[in-house]
C-alpha cells in the first residue's frame, strides 16, 4: 500500500538521504530522546486546549470544540523554493485583483472571448451591486490564502485561490509560537524567517486601504459571526493582535452615512471592516434578508465610499472552481506573462466532452463542487466504493454545472512524529498574501495542513487533518 517511490518525500530523497533544507533539523531530531518529544507533544496539546485554540465542527452540538492536532515536525522550505513560490503567488494575486476590477467594470476579458460570458453571468458569487464601483485603493482581495500542493522538487501547483475570507492564519502564528516555546534551542541553531509580523502587516495593510475621506488614524474592526463560528478563535486572535475591536453585526449600525460601533461612550465611526462573514450575510437589505450577522445598509455606505470592506463583496467570482480552470488565461491576460505557478489539470463537467471523460474515469479522479469548500461534498475516486461512485455519477449527470474534476495528485509527504519515530504523511500549504495600494506582502511561511491518517490525501481539519509549523529558511 505504502508505495514510497510514488510520492515525493520532502525530507528524504530515497537515493541520497536527507534533503538539504532538512539537514540541520534532522541532525537535531536524531539526537532527541523520543520520550521527551512525546511529552512535548502532549504539552503542546494541553497548551492549545488551555489557550482555547479550538474550532467548532458544523453539524455537531454548539458546545463541541475540537483541537486541530499539531505535529511537532516542521515543514521546511529553502529560501530559493520560497522565492519562486512567493513570486508566483504575487503574480496570481495581482492578476486576481485586475480580473475583479475588470469583471466589475468593462469586462474586457469577456469581450476578448478569453472566458465564457455564462461563467460570470450565471455565477452566484457575482454581485451586480459591485458593477461600476471601485473599492477604496482599488483593492478587492485584501487577504488571500492560496492553497498550494507539491508533487516534486520544483513542482508546485495552485489548488485553490481562496479570495473570499481565507482562514488558518492564526494557526500559522500559534504553531510557530508553540515551537518557539517547546524547542527554543532549535531556533538558535537554524535560521528561520519570522512570521510574527503578520498581525502588524495586516493592520498596516488594511489601514492603507481606508476610504479616501478618512482623516487621522483609521479605525479598524473585525466582524465575526460570533463565538459559535468555527473560526471564532482566529477572529478574536487577529483582533487582539492587531489592536482592533472585535464586533458582531448587532454592535454596528449606519449613522450619518458611516458605519459606527456601539461603545460604552456612544457610537464611534469605523473606517475599515475586516469581515469574517460571507457576502450573503453582510447586508440583510441587499442580500439574505433573514441574516442577523450583518449590518442593514452597509452596502449603501460602501458604495458611497465611506467604509472599506475587506475582502470586497463579490470577490468570490474569482475563486470558484470553474473560474479556477481559467486562471492561466487570466494571469496571462492581465500580466502579459505566463503563469509562474501551475494549475492542476481540471475538467469542467459543464462541457459535455469533459463530463463523459469524467464519468468514464471517475474512480481515478477527484470531483469537487464548484462552490464547495472544507472538503465537504467531494468525491475522492480511488478511495470510494462502487456504490459511492455510482451515486456520485448520478449527481454528476443531474447537475454537471455544479462540478469540476481533477486527477488524483501525488501530493508530497512530510514526516510526522509517531510512536515508531517518523512516518510520511501528505501535506498541502496555504501561504497568506496581503494586498494594499503599496503592493503585495507575503509572509514567509504559511499553514501546512497534514493528513494524519496513513495514505490519506484529505488534509482538511474537518476531516481529520492536522497542522505543522512551516519554516522558510534564511538565505
Amino acid at each position: 500500500m505504502n508505495n514510497s517511490s510514488k510520492f515525493y518525500d520532502e525530507m528524504v530523497d530515497p537515493a541520497s538521504g536527507v534533503r538539504p533544507p532538512y539537514a540541520a533539523y534532522r541532525e537535531w531530531f536524531d539526537r532527541q530522546d523520543p520520550a521527551r518529544l512525546e511529552s512535548k507533544s502532549a504539552e503542546a496539546e494541553a497548551f492549545f486546549r488551555r489557550t482555547g485554540i479550538t474550532f467548532n465542527v458544523y453539524g455537531e452540538s454548539a458546545a463541541q470544540e475540537r483541537l486541530i492536532p499539531f505535529d511537532l515536525v516542521p515543514r521546511v522550505l529553502s529560501a530559493r523554493q520560497w522565492q519562486k513560490l512567493s513570486k508566483g503567488i504575487d503574480q496570481r494575486v495581482r492578476a486576481i485583483n485586475a480580473f475583479l476590477h475588470d469583471i466589475y467594470h468593462r469586462q474586457e476579458i469577456l469581450r476578448a472571448g478569453r472566458i465564457p460570458q455564462g461563467l460570470i453571468a450565471n455565477n452566484d458569487a457575482f454581485l451586480p451591486q459591485m458593477m461600476g464601483f471601485s473599492p477604496p485603493g482599488d483593492v478587492y482581495t485584501h487577504i488571500v490564502g492560496t492553497d498550494i500542493v507539491r508533487t516534486g522538487e520544483d513542482d508546485f501547483f495552485v489548488l485553490e485561490d481562496n479570495a473570499r475570507t481565507p482562514s488558518g492564519v492564526s494557526y500559522m502564528l500559534e504553531n510557530r509560537e508553540t515551537m518557539l516555546q517547546m524547542f527554543p534551542e532549535i531556533f538558535s541553531r537554524i535560521k528561520v524567517q519570522p512570521v510574527s509580523d503578520y498581525p502588524k502587516s495586516l493592520r498596516r495593510s488594511l489601514a492603507a486601504c481606508a476610504p479616501s475621506g478618512c482623516r487621522g488614524k483609521p479605525t479598524v474592526a473585525v466582524l465575526t459571526p460570533g463565538i459559535y463560528n468555527s473560526a471564532y478563535f482566529e477572529h478574536s486572535f487577529l483582533a487582539d493582535q492587531m489592536g482592533a475591536e472585535l464586533v458582531e453585526g448587532h454592535d454596528l449600525k449606519v449613522m450619518d452615512g458611516h458605519i459606527a460601533m456601539r461603545t460604552t461612550e456612544g457610537y464611534r465611526r469605523i473606517d475599515v471592516l475586516y469581515r469574517r462573514v460571507d457576502d450573503e450575510y453582510l447586508d440583510p437589505l441587499t442580500f439574505n434578508p433573514s441574516s442577523m450577522l450583518g449590518v442593514p445598509g452597509i452596502m449603501d455606505v460602501y458604495r458611497a465610499g465611506n467604509i472599506t470592506i475587506a475582502n470586497a463583496p463579490g470577490t468570490g467570482v474569482a475563486d470558484d472552481k470553474a473560474i479556477y480552470s481559467y486562471m492561466p488565461d487570466i494571469v496571462e491576460f492581465y500580466t502579459g506573462e505566463a503563469a509562474i505557478l501551475k494549475n492542476v489539470e481540471t475538467w469542467r463537467c459543464s462541457e459535455p466532452e469533459s463530463l463523459s471523460y469524467v464519468l468514464d474515469n471517475l474512480s481515478e479522479l477527484v470531483v469537487k463542487e464548484v462552490h464547495g469548500s472544507g472538503g465537504y461534498g467531494m468525491l475522492v475516486g480511488p478511495a470510494a466504493s462502487k456504490q459511492e461512485l455510482a451515486d456520485f455519477a448520478d449527481k454528476l449527470r443531474a447537475r454537471p454545472n455544479n462540478y469540476i474534476a481533477q486527477p488524483t495528485l501525488s501530493l508530497s509527504t512530510v514526516p510526522i512524529f509517531v510512536d515508531q519515530g517518523l512516518a510520511p504523511r501528505h501535506v498541502d500549504l496555504r501561504p497568506f498574501a496581503l494586498v494594499s495600494p503599496r503592493g503585495v506582502d507575503i509572509t514567509p511561511g504559511g499553514l501546512t495542513r497534514v493528513a494524519l491518517k496513513e495514505g490519506s490525501l484529505v488534509v482538511n481539519s474537518s476531516q481529520g487533518g492536522g497542522t505543522k509549523d512551516t519554516w522558510v529558511l534564511e538565505d
Binding site: 488551555r50 448587532h250 454592535d251
Partner: protein, 313 residues
C-alpha cells in the same frame, strides 16, 4: 470599549461570583445537615430558595432531598444558575470579550470551565462533596487572582468589578431575605439551638462564621448578625461593602469617561441611605421590607448600568 464587551465582562464576573456563592451555600447546607439533626429538609429548601432555584427545582422533584438539591445546584443543565451552567456562561462571556482579557485571566476562566466540566460530569457523592466545593473555590480564587494581578486598572476592570459586586450584594441580600424570620428579635430565644443553627448557616454562607466570632465573640444576637451582614464595611460580603465598591468603580468610570449617568446618582443615593444607618432603625422599618427594597434597588442599579453603558443595542 464596545458596549457588548462591557456587558460581557459584567456578566462574566456576575456568573463567576454566582458560582462561588452557590458552592458556599451548598457547603453551609451540607455542614448543617452533618452536624444537626433537626429540620434538614427545610434547610435544603431554604438553600434552593436562596440560590433562586426553588421554583425550577420543584418542577422536577417532590420535596427537598439533600442529594437532589445538591445535584440540581451543582450540575443540572436545566438549572441556568447551577455551578456548571454559570461557569459555562462565564466562559462563553470570556470568549466574547477575549480581546479585553489578559492571557492569564482567559486561561484561568478556561481552566475553570474545563476542570469543572470534567469533575461535574457525574453526580457527586457525599464523600466527594467537600473536595468538589474546595475545587470550585480554588478555581474562583485563581480567576480572581489573575484579574487582580494582571489586568490594567481601566474601564475593563471596572465593568468586571461592577458585575462582581452587584451579584454579591444580591446574593447576601437574598440570604438574609430567606432567613429574615430567624433574625427577627421576636423569634429569637437567646441560646436556643434552632436559632444558632440558622445563624451559623447564614454566616457560613458568606464565609464569615469565624470572622464574626473574632469580632463579636459570644454576642451572637439577631441584631448583631444582621448588623454584621448589612452594615459592617469590613466584611467583604456585606451589603455596605459591596455597595461601596460598586460606587467606587462607577466613580472611576465617571472620571475616565468624563460623564456622569443615572446609575451614578442611583448608586450614590443607595449608599447614602445605608451609610450611618443604625440596625435598630432597620428593624423598626421591618427587616423583610428593608431587604426586599434593597434587592429591588440593586436590580434597578444593574439595569441602569446596562443602559448607561450600552451593553445591548
Amino acid at each position: 470599549m464596545l458596549g457588548k464587551t462591557a456587558g460581557g465582562l459584567y456578566w462574566m464576573f456576575r456568573n463567576l461570583e454566582r458560582a462561588e456563592n452557590t458552592a458556599r451555600l451548598i457547603e453551609a447546607g451540607f455542614r448543617i445537615a452533618l452536624t444537626r439533626s433537626q429540620g434538614k429538609s427545610n434547610e435544603w429548601k431554604s438553600v434552593a430558595t436562596t440560590a433562586g432555584a426553588a421554583q425550577n427545582f420543584s418542577r422536577k422533584y417532590d420535596g427537598f432531598e439533600a442529594a437532589d438539591v445538591i445535584d440540581f445546584l451543582l450540575r443540572d443543565s436545566d438549572n441556568p444558575s447551577s455551578v456548571l451552567s454559570v461557569v459555562k456562561s462565564a466562559r462563553d462571556n470570556a470568549r466574547t470579550v477575549r480581546t479585553a482579557l489578559t492571557t492569564e485571566v482567559w486561561t484561568a476562566v478556561n481552566d475553570n470551565w474545563m476542570s469543572l466540566k470534567d469533575l461535574l460530569a457525574e453526580p457527586i457523592v457525599d464523600t466527594e462533596l467537600p473536595a468538589m466545593i474546595d475545587t470550585i473555590r480554588q478555581q474562583s480564587a485563581l480567576v480572581r487572582g489573575a484579574l487582580h494581578g494582571t489586568m490594567l486598572r481601566n474601564d475593563i476592570y471596572d465593568f468586571a468589578r461592577l458585575g462582581t459586586f452587584i451579584e454579591r450584594a444580591d446574593n447576601t441580600a437574598r440570604i438574609i431575605d430567606v432567613k429574615y424570620y430567624t433574625l427577627l428579635p421576636s423569634s429569637s430565644f437567646v441560646g436556643s439551638s434552632l436559632d444558632n443553627v440558622q445563624w451559623e448557616t447564614i454566616l457560613r454562607s458568606v464565609s464569615a462564621h469565624r470572622a464574626f466570632r473574632w469580632l463579636d465573640e459570644d454576642d451572637m444576637t439577631a441584631s448583631s448578625v444582621a448588623k454584621f451582614l448589612i452594615l459592617d464595611s469590613r466584611l467583604p460580603r456585606s451589603l455596605l461593602f459591596s455597595l461601596q465598591q460598586t460606587c467606587e468603580n462607577l466613580g472611576y468610570l465617571e472620571r475616565e469617561y468624563g460623564v456622569r449617568h443615572k446609575s451614578h446618582d442611583h448608586a450614590d443615593q443607595m449608599l447614602q441611605n445605608l451609610r450611618g444607618r443604625e440596625i435598630s432603625s432597620i428593624f423598626e422599618e421591618g427587616l423583610h421590607q428593608f431587604i426586599t427594597g434593597f434587592i429591588r434597588d440593586n436590580n434597578a442599579l444593574g439595569r441602569l448600568i446596562e443602559q448607561d453603558y450600552q451593553f445591548t443595542g
